[in-house]
C-alpha cells in the first residue's frame, strides 16, 4: 500500500520581493509503501525540508507557496488534510529541532502529542518511559528543553516520534548531531522496518549502507531514482586541502582549565576539565565526544563567551582574557539560527566589514567576491534560506572576519561533504588554525592531524 506519494509535484514559495517566485523543485515524483525505507539525497536548498513539510501538510498552510501536481497520503490529497489529523499517520523529526519545541520540560514535550491522541494517562506514562529509556534521556526528563545540547535536543525529537509510533516517519537530517552510539541506534531502528521511514540527507554516510529500498537524488531541480552502487564515493573523492603556511605562526593553548555549570531546571552540575589543549595556525584538529559531553561548552570557553573557574588560555604564549579570545577565534555555532539575525545576506556579511576602515568600493567588491565563493545571493532574505544555506552564510560571515583560529561545530551537518570541505579549504587557505567538531569521525579524521576527545568530563 502506498503511504506517501508525490506525482509530478512542483513547488515555489511566495515571493516577498518584486522578483518572481523561484521554483524550489519541479516534477518531483516518489512514493513510500508500508514498511519501506526511502532515502532522499540533495545539497542544501534543493527542497528536502520542503518535501517533509508538504508531506505533513504544514506547507503551504504555514509557509505560503504554489503547489502543482499531486501529493497524497494514504490516497488522499494532502492539500485537503490538516496536520493535526495526521499525528498517528506521519511524524517529522525536524532538522532544526530547537524551533519545534513547544513545552518547557522534556517529559511534557513527549506527552503533548499523546494527549492530542487522547491516550489514557497509564498509556502515556508507559510510552514516555519507553521512549526516554530508548533514547537515553531518563536523567534529563525533568530538564528544561531549552537547556539541552544540540544532540540531546535531536534525541528528544526522536523520543517524541518513538512515543507516537506513527506509520511513517520523516527523518530530516536526523543522523546529524547524534553521536556514534545513537547513530547506530537510529540505523538499527530504521533497519527493523516496523514502520516506514523517509530519510532526508545532504550526504551518503556509512550508516546508510544497505538500509534503503529506494534511493532518490536531487539533480537539476528534480528527483532522480538511483542505486546505492551508483552513488559517488564523496568522502573518498574529496581533494586534499591546500594549507597555507603562515609566516607568523600562532599557537592557541588551554592549560589546566576547570569549568562547572549548574543546570537551572534540575540543579544538577556539569563539570569540564581541560588539562592541556593546543592548536597552531594552519593546523586542523578534531574534537570528538558523545552528545552532551561538553564540546560546545569547551568552544564557548575558548572563544570567551564563558570564563573558566580556573586555568588559563594563551595566544602566542601570552595569557589572554575572554575579550581578546572573542576577537581572535571565530566560532561557527552548531545551529546557524543562533548567529543569523539581520534581514539580508548582504546585511549579515556587511556587519563585520562595517568596523573596518575600508572604502565603499573595496567593501562592495569583498562582498561580491565572498558571495560568489560561497554561492550566495546578496539580496536573499537570510532567515528564509534553507538550513544548509544558512550554515553556508554563517561560514561566509566568518571567512570575512579573517580570524587566526576557527572552531567549526558540526560543519558537516546539513551540508554535503564537498561543501563542508570547501568551507574548511577556504579558511585554511588563509592560514587559520581550525578546530573541527564532528560526530562523523571519518569526515573529521580525513582532515585532522590530531584528535582530542572528551570523556567523563575531561578533554584529552
Amino acid at each position: 500500500m502506498k503511504l506517501l506519494e508525490f506525482k509530478d509535484v512542483d513547488f515555489s514559495y511566495e515571493s516577498y520581493t518584486d522578483e518572481k517566485a523561484r521554483p524550489v523543485f519541479s516534477s518531483v515524483s516518489f512514493h513510500v509503501e508500508t514498511k519501506e525505507n526511502i532515502l532522499i539525497l540533495g545539497d542544501p536548498g534543493v527542497g528536502k525540508s520542503t518535501i517533509a513539510s508538504i508531506s505533513c501538510a504544514l506547507t503551504p498552510k504555514f509557509a505560503s507557496g504554489t503547489l502543482t501536481g499531486l501529493a497524497s497520503l494514504k490516497g488522499t490529497n494532502i492539500e485537503k488534510l490538516e496536520p493535526y489529523d495526521l499525528t498517528s499517520t506521519i511524524s517529522l523529526v525536524p532538522q532544526n529541532a530547537a524551533s519545534f519545541i513547544i513545552t518547557t520540560l522534556v517529559t511534557d514535550e513527549i506527552a503533548y502529542p499523546l494527549e492530542s491522541l487522547c491516550l489514557k494517562r497509564e498509556e502515556i506514562t508507559k510510552r514516555i518511559q519507553y521512549s526516554l529509556s530508548f533514547w537515553g534521556l531518563e536523567e534529563l526528563k525533568e530538564v528544561n528543553t531549552f537547556q539541552l545540547s544540540g544532540g540531546e535536543t535531536r534525541r528528544l525529537m526522536l523520543s517524541v516520534n518513538e512515543a507516537i509510533n506513527p506509520e511513517l516517519t520523516i527523518y530530516d537530517e536526523s543522523f546529524d548531531d547524534l553521536d556514534i552510539f545513537y547513530r547506530g541506534k537510529l540505523r538499527d531502528k530504521i533497519a527493523k522496518r516496523e514502520t516506514s521511514s523517509v530519510v532526508l540527507a545532504s550526504h551518503f554516510t556509512k550508516w546508510y549502507k544497505g538500509l534503503f529500498d529506494r534511493i532518490y537524488k536531487f539533480e537539476k531541480g528534480t528527483l532522480v531514482e538511483t542505486r546505492e552502487a551508483d552513488l559517488p564515493k564523496e568522502l573518498e573523492s574529496l581533494s586534499p586541502l591546500i594549507i597555507k603556511e603562515s609566516p607568523n605562526k600562532s599557537v592557541f593553548e588551554a592549560k589546566e582549565i576547570k569549568y562547572s555549570q549548574k543546570r537551572k531546571s534540575t540543579g544538577s552540575v556539569f563539570n569540564l576539565s581541560v588539562p592541556s589543549f593546543s592548536i597552531e595556525s594552519g593546523e586542523i584538529v578534531a574534537l570528538v565526544g558523545l552528545n552532551g559531553s561538553g564540546k560546545s561548552t569547551f568552544s564557548r570557553l575558548a572563544v570567551g563567551l564563558e570564563e573558566p573557574l580556573s586555568g588559563q588560555f594563551y595566544l602566542e604564549g601570552k595569557a589572554i582574557n575572554g575579550k581578546i579570545r572573542k576577537r581572535n577565534i571565530g566560532y561557527f555555532y552548531q545551529n546557524p539560527d543562533f548567529q543569523i539575525f539581520l534581514p539580508t545576506v548582504k546585511d549579515e556579511l556587511s556587519y563585520g566589514l562595517s568596523f573596518l576602515k575600508l572604502s565603499e568600493e573595496k567593501k562592495e567588491s569583498l562582498l561580491e567576491e565572498t558571495a560568489k565563493l560561497f554561492n550566495l545571493k546578496l539580496t536573499d532574505t537570510a532567515t528564509l534560506l534553507s538550513y544548509g544555506k544558512r550554515k553556508t552564510l554563517q561560514a561566509a560571515i566568518y571567512y570575512l572576519l579573517n580570524r587566526k583560529f576557527y572552531i567549526l561545530d558540526e560543519i558537516d551537518s546539513a551540508l554535503s561533504y564537498t561543501e563542508a570541505r570547501n568551507i574548511i579549504s577556504l579558511l585554511s587557505q588563509k592560514g587559520a588554525g581550525i578546530l573541527l567538531i564532528s560526530h562523523d569521525r571519518e569526515f573529521a579524521t580525513t582532515f585532522a592531524s590530531k584528535v582530542y576527545k572528551i570523556e567523563n568530563g575531561v578533554l584529552r
Binding site: S99, R121, R263, S265
Partner: protein, 257 residues
C-alpha cells in the same frame, strides 16, 4: 520556540500550588494600583525583592532586576516632559528638569513596574509551563486561551534571552584587535539592528510554533487527555485561601499605618 524561565528549586514558593501563586500574583498586581502611597509602594517592591531572593536566589533576583533597568532608564529620560507641574527640584535657567510632581510620578510608576515584573517573573521561574496551563484551566479558562497565555508568559521573557544571544553573536563579529575598535557611538547604533532582529525572531516564531503545535496534534477544539494533573486537597485549599487573604491583609494594614 525557546522557553527558559523555569528554575528548579525547593523554596516555599516553588512548593506552593500553582493556582495559589496565580491568584496571589493577580491580586497583588491589582492591589498595588489601589495604593498610591510612595512609602507603601517601597514596601511592596522590597517585599517582591525579598520573595525573589528567598525563592530563586540573589543571582537570579539580580538578573531579573538588571533586565528592568533599561526601561527604568527610559522613564528617567522622559522625566523633564512631566516636569511642567509642581515645584522645581532641578532646573537649567527656566527649563525645569525635575519637579517634585514628576519625581513622585516616576517613583510611583517605577515601583509598580518593578513589583509587577518581579512577581510575574517569580511565578514563571517557580512554575513549569504545563503547571501554569493546568492552573489556568482550573479557573475554567478554555484550553486554547490557557495555552496562549502560558505560551505568551514564557515567550515574553525568552525575547530578552534572544536579545542577549544576538548581542553575544555580535560580540563575536568584532574586528581582529589590530584591525580596529568599536566606538561607543557604533555600539549604540548596533542596538537598533539587534532590536529589529528580536522583532523578526518574534514574528518568525509564530508560524513555527503553530506548525509545531499542529504537528503534535493541537486542533483548537476537540478532546484531549491530560498527562499532568493538579491535586486537590486541604493543603491546596489552604494555600488558595492564604493567597487571597495575604494581599488583602497587607493592603489593609499598610493603608491604615
Amino acid at each position: 520556540m525557546k522557553t527558559n524561565t523555569y528554575i528548579k528549586g525547593n523554596s516555599l514558593y516553588h512548593k506552593a500550588d500553582v493556582r495559589a501563586k496565580l491568584l496571589f500574583t493577580l491580586l497583588s498586581c491589582i492591589l498595588i494600583f489601589l495604593d498610591p502611597t510612595i512609602s507603601n509602594l517601597y514596601c511592596y517592591t522590597a517585599f517582591a525583592v525579598l520573595l525573589c531572593v528567598f525563592s530563586v536566589g540573589i543571582k537570579e533576583t539580580f538578573n531579573n532586576i538588571k533586565l528592568l533597568l533599561p526601561i527604568v532608564g527610559f522613564m528617567i529620560l522622559f522625566l523633564p516632559l512631566q516636569s511642567q507641574k509642581g515645584e522645581a527640584l532641578l532646573a537649567i535657567k527656566d527649563f525645569v528638569l525635575v519637579s517634585d510632581h514628576a519625581l513622585n510620578n516616576l517613583l510611583l510608576v517605577a515601583n509598580r513596574f518593578i513589583f509587577i515584573s518581579l512577581i510575574t517573573a517569580l511565578l514563571l521561574q517557580t512554575s513549569t509551563n504545563n503547571d501554569l496551563l493546568l492552573g489556568l484551566r482550573f479557573f475554567r479558562l478554555p484550553y486554547n486561551a490557557a495555552l496562549v497565555i502560558s505560551l505568551a508568559l514564557c515567550f515574553i521573557p525568552s525575547i530578552a534571552s534572544v536579545f542577549s544571544e544576538i548581542r553575544e553573536s555580535q560580540s563575536l563579529r568584532l574586528p581582529n584587535p589590530e584591525e580596529g575598535e568599536e566606538s561607543k557611538k557604533g555600539r549604540f547604533k548596533k542596538l537598533f539592528p539587534s532590536l529589529t532582529a528580536v522583532l523578526v525572531y518574534a514574528i518568525k516564531s509564530i508560524p513555527i510554533t503553530a506548525s509545531g503545535l499542529e504537528l503534535r496534534g493541537f486542533r483548537g477544539k476537540g478532546a484531549r487527555t491530560s498527562y499532568n494533573k493538579l491535586n486537590w486537597g486541604f493543603s491546596t485549599f489552604t494555600q488558595i485561601v492564604i493567597s487571597v487573604i495575604l494581599p488583602l491583609i497587607i493592603f489593609t494594614v499598610w493603608r491604615n499605618v
